[in-house]
């Protein structure tokens, strides 16, 4: 598997989310549906591993990278997780100038609210997947 592609897809997901788990819908779209690098089951396992681990909630992208591309994929996942955080340095200077602008605040708030809707949709998909697996095993 192309590690650069894994990194870019994960970066696309982390750079367009505003919370650790906010990247889940984009990862589901790219890794499961579009490129089929992961099964629903593996994505669910990645979320489970990430949530079972102390530390940043977004660390599950390391597991996503590992399931898609082995240890190199895990490294790509780690890089994709930390890259957006570096944007905080230039933002620190800009925030004091722009944050008070009502339009900027409204845009950011709208993005956070929309990301919640996306997260709920992804959470429901995850629950359905877990329930299906459970039913299959109990049959």
């Amino acid at each position: 598997m192309n590690i650069v592609l894994i990194y870019l897809l994960l970066l696309k997901a982390t750079a367009t989310s505003f919370a650790g788990m906010g990247s889940l819908p984009q990862i589901q779209q790219d890794f499961v549906q579009t490129y089929q690098l992961l099964s629903d089951e593996h994505l669910s396992q990645a979320v489970l591993v990430g949530r079972a681990t102390p530390g940043p909630m977004g660390a599950y992208v390391v597991a996503v990278g590992y399931f898609a591309g082995g240890w190199a994929g895990a490294m790509a996942g780690w890089l994709a997780m930390i890259t957006p955080a570096l944007a905080a340095i230039p933002l620190l200077a800009l925030v004091q100038r722009w944050l008070h602008l009502p339009r900027m605040r409204a845009a950011v708030d709208a993005v956070v609210v929309a990301s919640v809707a996306l997260l709920v949709a992804a959470g429901v998909d995850l629950a359905v997947d877990g329930a299906r697996q459970l039913l299959r095993l109990l049959q």
């Binding site: 925030v95 409204a106 919640v116 697996q133």
Partner: protein, 135 residues
């Protein structure tokens, strides 16, 4: 200011928060050390757990445990969503939050990608909801 910056920075908020703290204390070196310290230990644990899981997930007992774990994880994902939306349920912010939620759900139902959904929400917020934006 650090909290505001971490909220505005894409990705995992706590990592951005650590970066701004490190930057404040030791500029680039501080930011890099803070970023490494806040991300590497958890990433190593995730990597180890994922690698172990691949080796044992064919056993039925493990599969059963995973299925239950995934259901629990889905509840935790939904609780993350609840924690994110809570500040927007204040009286002055509810209407704007409802407008954006309806828009986002409509776009999701129509099959829009997450990025397009977020861009549409940002545009609606920027152009139409700025008068009494949630604080």
């Amino acid at each position: 200011v650090f909290t505001a910056v971490s909220r505005l920075t894409p990705g995992t908020n706590i990592l951005a928060y650590c970066v701004t703290l490190g930057w404040r204390l030791r500029r680039f070196a501080g930011a890099l050390v803070a970023l490494g310290a806040s991300s590497i230990p958890a990433s190593l644990i995730v990597f180890t757990l994922a690698a172990m899981l691949v080796r044992v997930d064919r056993y039925p007992a493990v599969q059963l445990g995973l299925a239950v774990g995934i259901l629990v994880a889905s509840v935790l994902v939904l609780s993350s969503a609840w924690n994110l939306i809570k500040p927007y349920l204040a009286r002055h912010a509810r209407v704007n939050a409802a407008i954006v939620t309806v828009l986002a759900l409509g776009l999701i139902a129509a099959g829009a990608t997450p990025v397009r959904t977020l861009l549409a929400a940002a545009a609606v917020g920027f152009f139409f909801l700025h008068d009494d934006a949630p604080r």
